[in-house]
């Protein structure tokens, strides 16, 4: 079976957009280890982010933990059932967005993010701008959930056959989500 590997290198050769998009569309099993910051007018939080997404098995596990190692939030999805553990309580629902909004006060667009983090559009009318020289996504604008999301990409690295960003800022209204990926684990088709 395909194993997850995580050797990051500098990008040496450039992929054209269609080639890159094709490869990333086929990447359905990945894992992220990094840090996520949420900045809103009321409060700011910064947590260690661990996210293991297995598209073809329709499973995901997302964990948010403090710098001291104390778990703050987990989301576990199997098929279309989502279970969230937060503040010692367990919540379950097939409708992830409403569940997230009811618990966190704002919608973390986790499903859309599984596309955005790879630099792929989620909705057909998501608009991506590409860097002329590297041909890599620089910004993405989306109207997911009737809200305007603006994403900036940076820190691209070669992770196996994929070219993936490691620095993201996702802005929606007065909320900014900052993600700093320390390690991408991706399926290598060896």
């Amino acid at each position: 079976c395909s194993s997850l590997t995580n050797n990051h290198q500098q990008i040496t050769e450039h992929q054209n957009i269609t080639e890159r998009t094709q490869k990333l569309n086929a990447l359905s099993d990945w894992k992220i280890k990094g840090k996520m910051g949420i900045i809103s007018p009321k409060e700011r939080h910064s947590l260690t982010l661990n996210w293991h997404y297995q598209g073809d098995k329709k499973r995901q596990m997302l964990n948010l933990t403090t710098v001291l190692g104390i778990q703050v939030f987990t989301l576990e999805s199997v098929n279309n059932m989502h279970v969230i553990n937060v503040d010692g309580e367990r919540y379950q629902s097939p409708d992830l967005n409403t569940l997230l909004a009811s618990l966190t006060g704002f919608t973390l667009p986790t499903h859309a993010m599984t596309f955005w983090l790879k630099g792929l559009p989620y909705l057909a009318n998501d608009k991506i701008t590409y860097n002329e020289t590297t041909q890599l996504p620089q910004t993405l604008t989306s109207y997911s959930d009737e809200k305007k999301w603006f994403i900036k990409y940076g820190g691209y690295q070669q992770v196996n056959q994929y070219q993936l960003a490691t620095k993201f800022t996702i802005k929606q209204g007065n909320i900014t989500i900052k993600i700093n990926v320390h390690q991408w684990d991706v399926t290598s088709n060896d």
Partner: protein, 202 residues
Amino acid sequence: LPLNEPTSVIEKPNNEAQIVKSSLMKKLAKLEYFTANFNQQVLDGDGNELQNALGTLAVKKPNLVYWKTAEPDESLIVSDGATLWFFDPFVEQVSAYLLEKALLNTPILLLTSSDPALWQHYSVSSMDENNYLIHANDNNAQVKTLELRFKKNSNDLNSFTIVDATGQLSLFKLSQFDEKNVPESALFTFKIPEGVELDDQR
């Protein structure tokens, strides 16, 4: 007829635990201050590694802590004896808590104080005289246990492990443990940097 203090069996802390607790407190009483480097590994309930961080820790009695995580991301925790400062450059914010309020959820502060009023919130069990397990008596404390592992018959700490209410574990392996040189007092003061948001929880 005034009743004197009813000491029924349940209330009286069982003797064995009391002995273990005072032996730990005696051991820690000898640790006036120390500095060390740490390698922090966070594991989820199934043992998957969630985080691997490097940093330095300095502690000085009473109630002074300097806890700097350097890799992979910078963050800083300072107790100046009155306020516990949590500074996170990633979101350009520092949170300030009253030290006594923070003590319950950061048992590591037990290393900085031999105040019995603080210790009464915790009970102590021990596997042997080098390993102690501190349990929070308050069962909705975020941190369930703090395990302290000392080098063989010495006051030098080898490691400490925090287990949270969900069973997630944070293991801090210490190196370059120095209990000889007094940490500089400048470590234990915190000045809010330019442009950083203050989240004052005091």
